[in-house]
């Protein structure tokens, strides 16, 4: 009873503390967002430098998007994300486990910790540019492969669906695994050492300990990683854009949703871009809801 009284009296501080966030959000995101949603019901685009519309057309934009290849691009995005994310989370978990376990003597631990995060420093567009050059048919990778006799004629990495997608996945992996590792490490380090000591006395081996103690305890951060990665995956843009010159070649199999959105933004098709944004919003919302429920469902019931 007393406690409840207390939280009520401190409630205003709660409002006060979250106020800056909400003000900023409403000004810089909400107003633009509302506009985006509003435009999605209009025919509104530029033809040359003439503005057409806005004319209200109801849900026509939504309907014509469903008829377009939007679902195909959703599939592409998902595939590209999975190719990068699966190795990323596995390696990151493994590394975080190794780094945070005092019983492993890792030489140059500091060095490795610092190095794995490095690829995340370089801007995605520059990284993609670098990859594009390196894996081009006359690039260094091909000349190395040819000089050590693995292949006779240059491999056209970006000529095949598999090659392009793997490259994009590999780049995403390389750029993000260090980031994820650091995040997970912070979480594992946050676990009280008492717990580890206790289970050690109980005779838990390393693998058991990892699956039964560490994983459940870092669930919130894991959920965070998964959610931000899904969002990042849905927003995948720079890498495939630059690697494929914005065309999503071959045969538009590397075209992601944001590249699709970018095409509409580029043509100043506000109506269509608005509708696509709303779809994106819904898709990512559903995905995150699922993940969030999956991971935090049991906890919140408790």
């Amino acid at each position: 009873m007393k406690k409840k009284h207390k939280s009520i009296s401190y409630g205003k501080w709660g409002y006060l503390f979250i106020l800056p966030f909400f003000i900023t959000f409403f000004v810089f995101s909400f107003i633009p967002l509302i506009n985006t949603i509003r435009y999605s019901f209009f025919e509104y685009y530029r033809s040359g430098i003439k503005e057409i519309g806005p004319n209200f057309i109801g849900i026509k934009n939504y309907a014509s998007l469903l008829e377009s290849d939007m679902l195909k691009y959703t599939g592409n995005t998902l595939i590209l994300w999975i190719i990068g994310f699966i190795p990323q989370i596995l390696i990151a978990l493994m590394l975080a486990g190794w780094f945070s376990d005092v019983r492993f003597k890792i030489h140059g631990k500091q060095f490795f910790k610092v190095v794995i995060y490095l690829p995340n420093m370089i801007m995605a567009s520059a990284f993609a540019l670098l990859f594009f050059t390196m894996f081009s048919t006359k690039g260094p990778i091909n000349s190395i492969l040819m000089s050590i006799g693995i292949t006779k004629s240059p491999i056209d990495f970006m000529g095949s669906v598999f090659g392009t997608r793997s490259l994009i996945g590999f780049m995403n992996f390389l750029m993000w695994f260090g980031n994820t590792t650091i995040m997970l490490m912070a979480a594992i380090m946050g676990i009280s050492t008492d717990i580890f000591e206790a289970v050690e006395i109980d005779g838990c081996n390393r693998i058991q300990r990892f699956f039964y103690i560490t994983l459940p305890l870092i669930k919130p951060i894991l959920a965070y990683t998964l959610i931000t990665s899904i969002i990042g995956g849905l927003q995948m843009f720079d890498v495939p854009q630059i690697l494929t010159n914005g065309h999503g070649n071959p045969d538009r199999t590397s075209m992601t949703l944001i590249m699709f959105l970018n095409n509409h933004l580029k043509s100043k098709n506000y109506g269509m871009a608005g509708a696509l944004s709303v779809y994106l919003f819904i898709i990512s919302g559903i995905l995150c809801m699922i993940v969030y429920k999956m991971i935090n469902g049991k906890n919140s019931e408790k």
Binding site: I49, K138, N249, D251
Partner: protein, 477 residues
Amino acid sequence: MKKKLISALIAAATAAEMLAGCGNSANSSSESTLGQNAADSSSESVSAENSSADEGKIINIYCWNDEFRTRVETVYDQVVNTSEDGTVTKLKDGSEIHWIINPNQDGVYQAKLDEALMNQASAADNDKVDLFLSETDYVFKYTDKTANVALPLKDIGINPDKDFADQYSFTRTTASDSDGVQRGSTWQCCPGLLVYRRDIAKDVFGTDDPEEIGKKVSDWDKMKAAAEELKAKGYYVFASYADTFRLYGNSISEPWVKPGSSTVKVDKKIMNWVNDSKKWKDSGYFDPAIKGQWNDDWNKAMGSKSKVFAFLFPAWGIDFVLKPNWDGDKGAWAVTNPPQEYNWGGSYIHAAVGTDNPQHAKDIILALTANKDNLVKISKETSDFTNNRSAMAALASDKSFSSEFLGGENPFKYFAPVAENIKIAPLSAYDQGCVELIQSSFGDYFEGKVDLDKAKANFETAIMERYPDITKVEWPE
């Protein structure tokens, strides 16, 4: 006295238009006649000292790199100096040119320019766009009369028929709207040639003489026979299918999109390019490692280790693309006539509707695109092929004018006749997207990734994405 009065009238007319904002078509047509009369009587030269008090002090020029700035510095006699960072150029009368440079990359330049032009009416005088540049691929977007963002040149006191009499006429057509009113002008003309490696020519054809090689490539059938010979010796005639595109694509007989239509009509010539390229690609005439242009592989094809015989380039291509990419000795390349005359590129100068500096706009346009001495100067200093027929004809026969890079050859000898014979394709506001997307969509087809129908479908999807108002694509029989 009369002259002064008239220039005041012009200024007043322009001021009136400024006040009226973008101006509707009725308004602008009455103004046009006024401008025309004025221009007739005073077109000789209305120089800077005549400028009225209404003339603004800041001239905003939108462009995508510093090429235009260096041209202005080279030939515009009013220039005093340019600030260290290249953003402000001071003129003798105290006014300043402000260079607003945005990268062409990802359409940033056009996006920023469009934004500025749409806000032109409400912008403060010193923020208004005064001059802007466009390229052949999208010049029509800005010269379009319904868009009405580029002033008809006669409205600022230029008489195109007289002042530009010595320009190549196709450049004037290109810068005109669908009524033939000229709304822009260029200092360069971009006739394209065949640039080939002398060593490969000697190896395969036994000679590197431009005349002899020229005979071997004078039309497409001969070109193909030459490609076969090259292939037999392990060379490629061109780097990629994209190299030949301009020869077909810039000579189409009807515009991609007719005025007022919402249908993209793919020209027969484009399909010829598709079919020929497929055949050539499958026959192994192109370097299989190279896809498209403007990428690292393509650049490397211009290096000394490459097996590629030739490129199809205008003057800027030789100087700014081929030369920096060539790592061998000077004099290894030569130019000759292409299998078909074509034009590739060209930057147009436009005076923006609503400018508060019509006088400066006029002076700059005339200095850069109508003054023969200036154009010769540009050609001599930068080996750009400039837009003046008599000057170029003179340079073509000038024995002292030769290029070290081309082994002492005078490229103008080949440029000049090509420039005379260019038949420029009728333009539409959709050209840039069509040209870009047709090449990328059919790239997959040439590589054997998709069949012809799928490539067509991909083009249709892409073009409708780019231009929301396009509803249909028509393919030739």
